[in-house]
Symmetry: D2
Subunit: 510 residues, 4 copies
């Protein structure tokens, strides 16, 4: 199921770029930022913003923000405005609060005693409410409900331990990290550097890429120092290919990485409390990330395929064919088919032009529901027993008409296999999940979910199955040499499964 | 490859709807038309138009046309304007001429001595130029370059053999059909009826559906007379599901079908010249149609799968895996995999948000080319020999960067198998094909096409292979009983392969 | 009262330009056309269109049309599209029919056997309905309700007496003029010439200007031949100043003037029926034209001032001050003040930003009515008896709240003096007048109009007074030498007063 | 001259409304705010914003801001969003800084420890730079360059002397007023009240109006308590008529007025330093304000007329007629005519549709300059000596083509009389004045200004003449009884003439 129907939503994507070498750069930074953002569009479609800096002293910043998709929000004149940037950060936003206003759009830029800083944030501060009070008690008025503004004011607020003309932003960022444990992947731009920050639990992803000459893009091994045209930092590595960057490495949980024209430098790794594991959001694997992104050394697609295989082991089916609810469940479906030996076929054809229509709801057409989006490939499955793989069932209201459609088009049986466990708990760390009451797993009907949605049987992947499918492929070896500070705990493995298990990585009453 | 890249384009889609029973109808005709049009959006994205009639005497027509996709072109106030329609026709357009102006947008409505008629047309008149001269010689000025206006004026022009108050539109349509042999699928709305017309060669598709109560939508067999809520007519049957209609039958080559509130009625079948076969465009199967559409009794998806199977027989490959250029080549790839026994995998992930950007072309980013649209699913194929199925190679400029991408990401070999023969000749019957010079099959490089595009080998499906894959599944039996006039020749089978063979169904110098 | 409130509206303005000398011209024809159109904006605000021709053989035409004011309808890319024009015609439209669609927008361009012609039209054909039938009986379908399309088809339709490659458009235009007596001021562009045509009754205005180097713009006398940079033709001479043109002369009633790169040439003057006078619309003087325009050798402002003087003679008032309903009645008010000896003051200040607001109607604010547009300059008239001059009272619903406003702000008496006679009859020649029922002069309340609108007294100018105010200043002498054909009847004086008297210049049942 | 040409510009207009009586109110507060803002549109055309509060505890605020004119910035859905307001404030902005971004648009709303406050500000803080540093030194980041944000943060910042749940905003406002002496007219909305504040020098205007039933709008005397439907506060009284409000009184220099559903209450008057006079901007009279506004008990129109009379005394002319550069100089021209005994005529007709066109500059049309906006009413002045009154000559580049136009159209002499003294100094208190170098009065050419602009003579009104014309009509008597606190110094008279004399009301190095 696509995001819009499931009701689950990522909050944001962040992206940054610093041109290497002499400035003004030949690298078209504003265009790299825009394309990078387009590649993160699946993480937020509500609004987008870019801030560039020329990196001079004092720097000149240019900002453009707009509602809607990146291509809409950034007309040619916006790119013109941003064109003198030698570095920049950007953000694409999915509103979880329902307040869709341009002023909530990131990055947030504020003028401080030390000049302007810009901040882009993916995540949700678990203790935002307490921090807002703290800031306001200091006498600061907050003009938005955005965590990004809050973070920015917290950075400005820190008792100035430094001289006026040499602000110690790193100390301020470390201080911020002691105030709030999670969740944030953060880009802070000041003058001529970007600080890339990931919270100690590593809850949200963040990784670094190296811009090399296109001709050397796919040479094996890492780009040579002298070939580097710039550095990029992104929520997901899927954005690297479209701008001609090579994957370099992840930012570690708790790490502050400084990105400048001279290269990248790990400044510090803020540790978690003794004995606590990282808590990278497991739903990034299951649902949010683009399948070609790499987390923890493994491709998301491969994890999803393993989930499908594991599902075939846990929930085998006596059926004729395996298929997918296009397009996100396809890797799991192929995995299930491989493991089970059943043939993989397509049962649904998606109308890619169906979108927001101005069709008024009415009795007749409303009954057609989500089926308007799909055409049944009848001849492929008529008279057959179908195993239909979905990646998740959140509210249960979208799979039902699809089952009906398949049965009416001739499927003799439809068995639903879900490649993730049921979602049962709210997320406070950056994911928009329907209310507890809306979640099908919390409804009485869940007891007979198959009957409720009209399937012949329904099975979910177990939590253990999901965790093992995720963790069996994790590979950090390739990153070892790139990380200056040797922080063993950051190599330890752990994932946040709170929405599935109710076990949150931190106390919620911070 | 998607349309925008290949340079091939369908010209148009047409759709019509007549509410059954008493008028004013309860059926939301304007919304049925809009949804029907959305489902034909793949046949034209440039502009869209709807004309409704209240069917009264004299009738009141309402028209709305707009540039862009249907959802953009039809804001709520447009639907409001159209809401009193008891019947209507609509059109979605892909410009072949490069003249993208609202005034070329169909349907075309003109006032005649007998009142207003509205015309929607899919196809291209092979003798348009001669007909334009004829019309103008009569003293008619033509305000657009649209064939639809030309047809409309030809209908108005016919010597009025009838009384003023009882125009014989059917005679005029038949007369028109003697003036121009092909290609057209035509909807003509006058007052309270729609005439659905297909040229004698049946070059463009046209079929009829029956609107039934949603509850009875998927009951087997045909809807009962008394359940019919209305009739729809469409370029493709894929539009029926999204509006709650059942497939009824095709309009036959040369047939004029009258659709009124009282039902559908075959008025006549204009014959082809003695001994000539129908010439349904074979590229509708290969490329244009949505895979869930039904032509000549068979599902397009199934034909494409058969093409893949045939290709595996004609051009087997010593390789490890089979994959697709998403999404249109997937049925052929699955067919190839089934026939060859090689495993089917996915090698590319498509960024569905990539669209028209305002990124300026420049040296660095331009080199990335089409690869910006795709992410390589590296782990799926690294170290493997890949057979990559494409549905057609037109200009050869888009497959090349994809092969490069796959090789750089680790494919040891990339073998291209094309599920259709090379396009070598222009189409004069409604398809936009690049100029002869642009077609890769006509370039010297075609001699070493594999070397030119960087593949390890390239093979095309043969014309015979394609024709047999198409024709082996044709089934007319299900339609027999529905056609009043028994016209045997219309059951004969034949397809236009002019763009592949240069054999045009009619003399071009009409 | 401004147009929007009175309910009276002009239908259109036309404008054309031909660059003199060698082509491609240095003259920015598209910009001259745009500025000329802006200066005619008061004649139509609904839509605007420009067609340019490069004048080559065959010519290339460029067309742009848009809804709304000229500045909105013509964005930079529109001007870009039109920039190769060496000549062009344009049109600004006020919809009288309520059908505001781009397709009704002029100029109308059609392709004929002889190539494309473009037509722009100001006026309304008194026998449009009969002509439409005639055209349609010939077998022509009409795609709009526009008289311009009708005229164009009539021009195309004329039995072709000429060879294919040398169409005799002048013969066709003359033929058209025998088919329809009035009302039209017409621009017909074909290849490299514009034909400027005025109907035999001269009902709508049309005049010619000479583009000279700006430095010679205000030299006395006419521009020398060698200085001419181009020729323009316009509904009103007020457009000449803003493009740097000198007033040259009027097109005479019935005259066809050919404008080419070689200069202007009077081709013919089609006469009126024996004994009939010209019928130039007297409301152009009263209401529609810009005050700085020149008709029949006199400035419109001067005529309005004379109307005010005449009104002071016909309807003197015992009062303290004279004022105006800004801004159109100001010349008449100054004339009244001069004649009566009463001091002229301002009583109302207009808010120029009041426009179409999205304020919902509701009890409280609706009561404020038109007064929202005006501020009372209280101190100027408190305690005084005011004579308020208006140029016309059409429906009577706008003057009433103004009187209330003045009285409440302290005027002891308010006497309304209207500088034109009451409108009582419909216009069929191009002016949009409210229905007979809506006209205050036809309502029972008109018997006690002062009581009805709350004034202390009301007087209108008499028809005789208006006619004499208009005709006493007519001067043709300055134009004598410029007109080749000596047509005495065209010098005779006559005006259409049909809306005031019911005496139409032609039989309406043509 | 209109604002756009002179280069002088007001910064802003503010407006507020509180519904009287029980809440939810029947009064359409959002619509009153919108119409009030439209009436202040001449004070700022760049952007507009409205914030409403339902006045509950805690309150719900709704905000809408948009670029452009009020009617553009506030589409129907914006009004829908604001419709639950029982009170609200709004703002229209003219950018002096060149930074036209939505985020600088006022009112500014921030969340504080005590809840949200909204601030709208007209003026410019003379010590903004020092105050920004102060705020930032406290650790507050400022997200805009707007003084309004600065004021809001200063209000939030004040050491909280109060309990958390009973913030003493009045103490905070008074504290703010000790931090910055001028210039500001301020609306602060908190929960269910609006504080209307004027700086101790009264540099910017602010006045209060009483909403009464429309039927009682123009009854003499003040509305009775029980009739009051609400209270409004506005930069100018011209906005009252269009919403059905009666003028009540001015806010005094230094006064804080609380406006609540229970009525208005003067809370305090913060005094100026001993011996200092008020410094109301004299250019509000000369240029900015709408002529029907009332300041210091007198109508602006009357002051302008007195300036014209005084000018006739100071600079009499031997001429035939007196006229105006429409429209702002008309009252002065009528005053000059009355005093001099010369007849008043109109010489220019303004094209009200000329606006921002996309016409490219080029040699020929650029030479036409400002004359494109005006038509010469030639017959009115040909052969005559004209005295042309302008309200100010700022850069001298717009009057010159007008003089040329008049002379070329036949004026024998053109004498310029300017109804204000030359502007020579910058303003730091809220007015946008061209740089010192751009001001004609500071250029060498000013020595022979008549020769420079092509006039036969030029005279300016003296500073003394202007001041006496302004001050002779000031009348405070009508306001006496309404002001609770008796503050004699606020009755003293004084005006800021800094831009004319260089004498600033406060030390600039605050």
């Amino acid at each position: 199921m696509e995001f819009e129907e499931s009701g689950i939503g990522e909050e944001c994507g962040v992206f940054g770029c610093v041109a290497a070498g002499d400035w003004p750069t030949q690298l078209e930074v504003a265009q790299v930022l825009t394309l990078g953002l387009v590649a993160l569009q699946h993480r937020g479609q509500e609004s987008a913003g870019i801030v560039t800096s020329n990196g001079a002293s004092p720097p000149t910043y240019a900002t453009h923000k707009g509602m809607g998709l990146v291509n809409t929000a950034f007309p040619p004149e916006a790119l013109l405005k941003l064109r003198h940037g030698n570095l920049g950060i950007c953000h694409t936003r999915y509103s979880t609060t329902g307040i869709s206003e341009l002023q909530n759009c990131q990055p947030f830029v504020v003028d401080t005693l030390h000049g302007k800083i810009a901040v882009a944030h993916n995540g949700e501060l678990v203790n935002a409410s307490a921090l807002r009070k703290k800031v306001m008690r200091h006498g600061v008025g907050l003009s938005t409900s955005s965590d990004s503004e809050l973070i920015t004011q917290l950075l400005a607020l820190t008792p100035p331990m430094e001289e006026l003309d040499s602000p110690d932003w790193v100390a301020r960022i470390k201080n911020l990290m002691t105030e709030t444990p999670t969740s944030y992947s953060l880009l802070v731009m000041y003058k001529d550097v970007i600080y890339a920050v990931r919270d100690p639990y590593g809850n949200r992803p963040l990784c670094i890429g190296q811009l090399v000459p296109i001709s050397k893009l796919h040479s094996t091994g890492e780009g040579k120092e002298e070939d580097t045209e710039g550095w990029v930092v992104s929520s997901e590595s899927c954005s690297f290919q479209s701008i001609g960057a090579k994957y370099y490495r992840e930012v570690l949980p708790g790490e502050i990485v400084q990105i400048s024209r001279h290269g990248i430098k790990s400044l510090t790794v803020v540790p978690r409390p003794e004995g606590e594991l990282p808590a990278f959001c497991i739903f990034e694997y299951v649902y949010f990330a683009r399948p070609d992104s790499i987390f923890e050394g493994q491709m998301v697609y491969t994890v999803r395929q393993r989930c499908g295989r594991q599902l075939a082991i846990e929930a085998p089916t006596d059926a004729d064919v395996v298929s997918t609810v296009p397009e996100s469940a396809t890797p799991a479906a192929l995995g299930y088919a491989q493991q089970s030996g059943l043939p993989y076929i397509e049962v649904l054809c998606k109308n890619r032009y169906v979108g927001r229509t101005f069709i008024q709801p009415n009795t007749r057409l409303r009954q057609l529901g989500v089926a308007k989006k799909f055409g049944a490939l009848t001849d492929n499955f008529a008279g057959k027993r179908v195993v239909l793989i979905d990646d998740s069932i959140v509210r249960g209201n979208t799979i039902s008409p699809i089952i009906k459609l398949l049965k009416e088009a001739g499927a003799t049986e439809v068995h639903i296999r879900v490649a993730s466990p049921p979602i049962m708990f709210p997320c406070y760390m950056g994911i928009n999940i329907p209310t507890k009451e809306e979640l099908i797993a919390n409804k009485p009907e869940f007891q007979d979910i198959a009957g409720y949605i009209g399937a012949d049987s329904v099975s979910y992947l177990s939590v253990e199955g999901l965790v093992s499918a995720v963790q069996e492929g994790i590979a950090f070896h390739q990153e070892k040499d790139k990380i200056d500070s040797s922080n063993q705990s950051s190599k330890s493995v752990g994932h946040c499964t709170a929405c599935l298990t109710g076990k949150y990585p931190v106390e919620l009453e911070w």
